[in-house]
């Protein structure tokens, strides 16, 4: 079948503002949107620019706004978008500066990530073997460990769009992963950070993040759990 791939393009060295271009592409229903982008880049319009690496939804490179929703181009198939041809729109994720075509500046995103102390903290002397952890304690923070830092959640959040200082859902998911790890000792520090005006209280539970997450992490729920942990700590 054929689809029209309508892409919002922008080359800072030439264009004053972004503009749409449409490419008619032959494809199979089982093709990934990334396959179509690659086809255009390799055989039609080599200047088309985007990030990609793993091509199967594990590296987090290619979050884009596809038919109006944040998705990974490598994890959404044509048959999930259209049965009988038609148009598929592709735009860069929102809220981060567009550098070129579908590629955005990820620095602010990773700054927020680094701000929540995204690493294991426990200065106790280590045992000779492993620290023990029960199956239940391990399960408690499993969801957050799946995160691939793709930014689909943060860049679907209306609060983040208007206030880039909000740390955003992805950073909170990372913090949650450590806050609820029974082995970690940095909880109060992280909760204090997230209690500030760039932290969890900005969240208005719009649920956009949960819908956007390609790893099916219940992002909003994790944010709520962090809010509750802050309240318990203060009580």
């Amino acid at each position: 079948m054929h689809v029209n791939l309508k892409i919002l393009r922008y080359n800072p060295e030439v264009d004053k503002k972004p503009h749409w271009e449409t490419y008619n592409v032959e494809c199979e229903p089982g093709d990934r949107v990334l396959d179509l982008l690659n086809h255009v880049k390799w055989y039609v319009e080599p200047t088309l620019t985007y990030r990609r690496s793993c091509a199967h939804g594990v590296c987090g490179s290619d979050a884009m706004l596809i038919n109006g929703r944040n998705r990974l181009a490598c994890k959404i198939l044509i048959r999930d978008l259209t049965k009988d041809g038609g148009t598929i729109t592709v735009e860069p994720i929102r809220g981060l500066k567009v550098e070129k075509d579908l590629l955005v500046d990820m620095d602010p995103f990773f700054e927020s990530y680094r701000a929540v102390l995204p690493f294991f903290i426990n200065d106790d002397p280590v045992p000779a073997g492993e620290r023990l952890q029960t199956v239940e304690d391990r399960e408690r923070f499993d969801q957050g460990t799946k995160c691939i830092l793709c930014a689909a959640c943060t860049t679907s959040c209306p609060i983040f769009w208007v206030n880039g200082r909000y740390l955003g859902p992805a950073a909170i998911v990372q913090a949650h992963r450590f806050i609820f790890d029974s082995r970690d000792k940095g909880t109060s520090e992280r909760l204090n950070l997230l209690n500030q005006n760039t932290g969890v209280w900005r969240c208005r539970t719009a649920y956009n993040c949960t819908e956007a997450c390609p790893r099916e992490i219940p992002v909003t729920q994790l944010i709520e759990e962090v809010k509750r942990a802050i309240m318990y700590q203060q009580a």
Partner: protein
């Protein structure tokens, strides 16, 4: 041109690079920086699923000697036994260390790290499969990558992300730094260093069907080879038996470790015929050849009879969804097949390079069978220690990254601590700038993507699971033609910012050169061993071929490859026929 100076530079930010940087930086006398063409967490270590093998003995009795034996036998006795011994011993503490860094391993009811079975890992020197793979659900590599990156953030490591290395500066046998292209600006930077650690991963993208990321194009292997330095054992390339049909996306061997069974068109468990004792959990080279034979003899499934089936349907839903959630998701997403209720179509997929840049057990790069390139180190898939010999066992690569990444980092820092910065040549970035200029000048008429596609298809046809003199000789000629056409490639994107077309064209040049060394090495080895299976020489020949290949580009005769050899380090385990 921008100029930087660090005592130690690490190229690559996957598991091996992040381990090297972490340990180099523990030496407080040296400055360390990491250069990576991908943002670190995008590295392909994150795609590893099944586990990291270590004889912890958490589920049943296990010993490092058994692990060492399995590694050597799995490698068809081409593994260097000094490396295998260090590895099997050190990986035990290394796994505990990862746990201490916070890595969220899955747990047993007694709170210890969970372990499961994996191909080729046995107890009592081959008696029965043993639970040795330490795992974090089915995203062990993801958790290793995340944990090591987190630890580097904690340690304040300096990163140059989305910088693509285009050259190594080596003069008079001493490495003096690297040249890198800043993708966001198009600027070329020179990084002067006392020591450099190469940790740039594999090159699976030379094949059409692969589990490897689009970014795995053999850049640093090729840059090394272009200087007339050797690549070791490139003929040994592993095809993993279970890639998702047509796409090559991996389904971990852990699926068979949990009880999954391979079946042909008639539902037969065909591995019983090929490896009667460990069946579906035989090493990968054996299972991939069995699949190839089943397909060739017309027992494939589907209307074109071009794939086989991985059957998990007899396993409880909570085992499949609970222990293999990611691969369940891949199967549902990409095939529309639910592994809980239907078998998954699979075919072998190009997966792992046993060969690479030859190194000592401390990661020092070798310029020939005995001398090192001073100040240059390598670890991970880009390197060949040789731990894996002719065939790598599942879970031994993640272990390789951790054990030898750390050793290379420590050794590079120790060297840098006592060394001086060496002078740089006049135009250190000259070769890189010339190549960029050539590709951007717009005179060529060839399209890089077309050449790449032909490369991938022909390598798949001619140098994959089974090889013959005829197919490989044909490929040698094809590669010469593709290389000639490559010299006539130009890019249409002339911009400076994020010129990914230019970088992809560079990568094609690397892929072609690695394919050249690989094909020449495979054509030269007239025996079958591990992953190198020749139909015209079906047997292993220890008398003539128990030795490592060292492939050198002939710098005076383009397209010609000179082959040398290096001794295998033997030891505890005498070469024996390899039966399972």
């Amino acid at each position: 041109m921008q100029h930087h100076r660090y005592d130690v530079i690490v190229v690559g930010a996957g598991g091996s690079g992040l381990m090297a940087s972490l340990y180099a930086a523990k030496n407080k006398n040296v400055s360390v920086a990491v250069i990576s063409k991908l943002y670190p967490t995008r590295s392909h270590t994150g795609a590893a699923q099944g586990g990291v093998g270590a004889a912890l003995g958490n589920v049943s009795e296990d010993h490092w000697e058994w692990h060492m034996y399995d590694t050597v036998k799995g490698g068809d006795y081409l593994a260097d036994q000094d490396a295998a011994e260090i590895f099997a011993k050190d990986i035990i503490d290394a796994v505990y260390e990862l746990e201490h860094m916070g890595l969220p391993f899955s747990r047993l009811p007694n709170g210890k790290i969970a372990q499961r079975k994996f191909g080729g890992h046995t107890k009592e020197f081959g008696k029965a499969a043993v639970e040795r793979a330490c795992y974090a659900v089915d995203r062990t590599g993801h958790m290793i990558l995340q944990t090591l990156y987190q630890q580097n953030v904690k340690a304040g490591t300096t990163f140059f992300n989305e910088f693509q290395v285009l050259d190594l500066i080596i003069e008079d046998g001493v490495c003096r730094g690297v040249v890198a292209y800043e993708i966001s600006t198009g600027e070329v930077h020179v990084f002067q260093a006392k020591s450099v650690v190469l940790a740039a991963g594999g090159y699976g993208r030379v094949f059409k069907i692969t589990s490897n990321a689009l970014s795995l194009t053999g850049d640093l292997m090729s840059i090394y080879y272009r200087k007339g330095l050797p690549l070791e054992d490139l003929e040994f390339y592993q095809f993993h038996p279970t890639g998702i049909a047509k796409l090559g996306i991996l389904i971990t061997e852990g699926a068979r470790g949990e009880g999954g069974i391979l079946r042909n068109d008639s539902g037969e468990r065909f591995m019983e015929r090929y490896a009667p004792s460990i069946k579906d959990l035989a090493p990968r080279d054996i299972v991939s050849r069995a699949i190839y034979m089943e397909l060739r003899e017309g027992r494939g499934a589907g209307k074109d009879k071009d794939y086989l089936l991985l059957d998990l349907t007899h396993l409880p839903r909570d085992v499949i969804e609970g222990r293999l959630p990611d691969i369940t998701d891949f199967s549902r997403t990409y095939l529309g097949v639910d592994p809980v209720t239907a078998p998954v179509p699979i075919q072998p997929t190009a997966h792992y390079a046993m060969g690479g840049i030859p190194t000592t057990v401390d990661g020092e790069c070798l310029a020939n069978s005995s001398t090192t390139v001073r100040g240059l180190y390598a670890a991970g898939e880009v390197a060949c220690v040789s731990l894996h010999g002719a065939n790598r066992l599942g879970t031994n690569s993640l272990g390789d990254l951790i054990v030898f990444g750390k050793r290379a980092g420590i050794a590079a820092a120790r060297y840098a601590q006592d060394a001086q910065f060496e002078d740089l040549p006049a135009r250190a970035d000259g070769a890189a700038l010339d190549e960029i200029e050539r590709l951007k000048s717009g005179h060529g008429t060839e399209n890089a993507a077309r050449i790449r596609k032909e490369l991938q298809e022909t390598m798949m046809d001619n140098v994959s699971i089974y090889r013959t003199d005829e197919t490989m000789s044909r490929q040698v000629e094809i590669l010469k033609e593709l290389q000639a056409r490559y010299r006539n490639v130009s890019v249409t994107d002339t911009s400076t910012k994020y010129n990914t077309e230019l970088m992809e064209a560079m990568e094609l040049g690397y892929m072609l050169d690695v394919a050249e060394a690989m094909t020449a090495s495979a054509l030269n080895r007239k025996e079958s061993r591990g992953a190198h299976a020749r139909e015209d020489f079906p047997d292993r020949d220890d008398e003539n071929w128990l030795k490592h290949t060292m492939a050198y580009r002939d710098l005076s005769r383009p397209g010609e490859v000179n082959i040398g050899y290096k001794n295998v380090v033997l030891g505890k385990f005498e070469p024996k026929p390899r039966v399972y």
